[in-house]
Symmetry: C2
Subunit: 120 residues, 2 copies
């Protein structure tokens, strides 16, 4: 599969895919003439990348994790450490998000009262 098709299938731009490759998240096969040729495993990999980055995990962290995976068995503790660190950060984000949701709900549902009570 060429870059355009992959881009369509996962909802990223060709440029973004090339950028991800450039920063080391990716290394697809190439045809003899140099054209990228992605396989199904690449799609799985990309879905994980997208899932992580959409949750705010930095591409650099994702890269480190994937590099460990690529390096093969023997570094499970390191991988686990990254996963756990990421989970912790996500939990913090989740807390903040919930707090903000509450604030938004409060402002939205009690709008008139807020108008009179609180300037912000």
């Amino acid at each position: 599969m060429k870059i355009g098709e992959l881009a369509k299938r996962v909802g990223l731009t060709r440029d973004t895919l090339r950028f991800y490759e450039k920063i080391g998240l990716f290394k697809p096969q190439r045809s003899s003439s140099g054209i990228r040729d992605y396989c199904d495993e690449d799609i799985d990999r990309l879905r994980v990348i997208i899932c992580f980055k959409d949750s705010g995990i930095p591409l650099e962290d994702i890269k480190q994790y994937l590099a460990l995976v690529d390096h093969g068995p023997g570094n499970e503790e390191e991988r686990l450490a990254i996963l756990i660190k990421s989970k912790k950060r996500l939990q913090e984000t989740l807390e903040k998000l919930k707090k903000t949701m509450d604030l938004l709900d409060y402002k939205i549902s009690h709008y008139e009262e807020i108008e009179n009570k609180c300037k912000i």
Copy 2:
């Protein structure tokens, strides 16, 4: 209260506070010699700003909302629209975060099995 104290109290840097003022989130009083003088209401305002931005609401959106608030009554629908838009985006983020949390939990708890089953 001067900028240094405020910075300490809310956990931002002086530079960040000046930056927020520059982009229009803020307009503290000034002493006769030009030194910023923040009041308690400013702290409330800042806490809202921090709460929102920590949840990923763009500063630009926060600015628009606060501008409406500053403008006084009469634009409640507009404010509400911003709040509702923000809530919707937060909900989407929340969904993604939960999905990623599940994935992380799966990888963390079943690490060995994953090792054998799934390369990523």
